[in-house]
Symmetry: C2
Subunit: 92 residues, 2 copies
C-alpha cells in the first residue's frame, strides 16, 4: 500500500472528526463539557497550519486545514457565546 494513502486517510479522519462535534453543538446547544482553552489553542493552531500550508503551497494541507478551521471555528464561537451568556446570567 502506498504510504501516502495512509497520510490522506489520517488527514480526512482528523479533519472530518470535528463535523459530528459541530453538528452536536449546533443541535443540542450544549457546550458545558467542552474546554474553551482547548478550542482557543486548537483554532489558533489550525490557523498556523493553514498559514504554513499556504506558504509551502501544499493543496491537500490547504484543503484539510480549511475544512478543520471552519468546523473548529463553529464549535469555538458557540462555546464563547455560551460562556458569555453564562457569565452574563450569573452577573444578574
Amino acid at each position: 500500500m502506498d504510504i501516502q494513502i495512509i497520510g490522506y486517510i489520517a488527514a480526512i479522519c482528523t479533519s472530518l472528526s470535528f463535523l459530528p462535534q459541530a453538528l452536536k453543538v449546533i443541535k443540542t446547544k450544549d457546550t458545558e463539557a467542552l474546554s474553551l482553552s482547548m478550542y482557543s489553542i486548537f483554532t489558533f493552531g489550525v490557523i498556523m497550519w493553514l498559514v504554513y500550508a499556504l506558504l509551502i503551497w501544499d493543496m491537500p494541507m490547504i484543503f484539510a486545514n480549511t475544512v478543520t478551521l471552519t468546523l473548529a471555528l463553529i464549535i469555538f464561537l458557540l462555546k464563547v457565546k455560551h460562556t458569555l451568556q453564562s457569565a452574563s446570567s450569573q452577573g444578574n
Copy 2:
C-alpha cells in the same frame, strides 16, 4: 521568519490543545457535550498519523502524534465509559 517555525508552532498548539480538555474531563467527569463520533474518528485518525510518521520516520511528527494520541485516548476512553454507564443506568 523560518517557515518551519510556523509548522512547529502549529503542531505544538494542535497537539497540546487536547491537554486542557483531558484535564477538564478528568476533573469534572462530564463528557455529556462531547461527541463520541468525533473522538472515535479523531483517535483513529491520529493512530493513522502515527503510523504514517513511523513509516516516513519523521521524529517531530512521531513526537507530536504520540502526545495527541495519549490525550485523545484519555478523553475517548472516559467518553466511552460514561456512555456505557449512562446506557446501563437507563437499562435498569
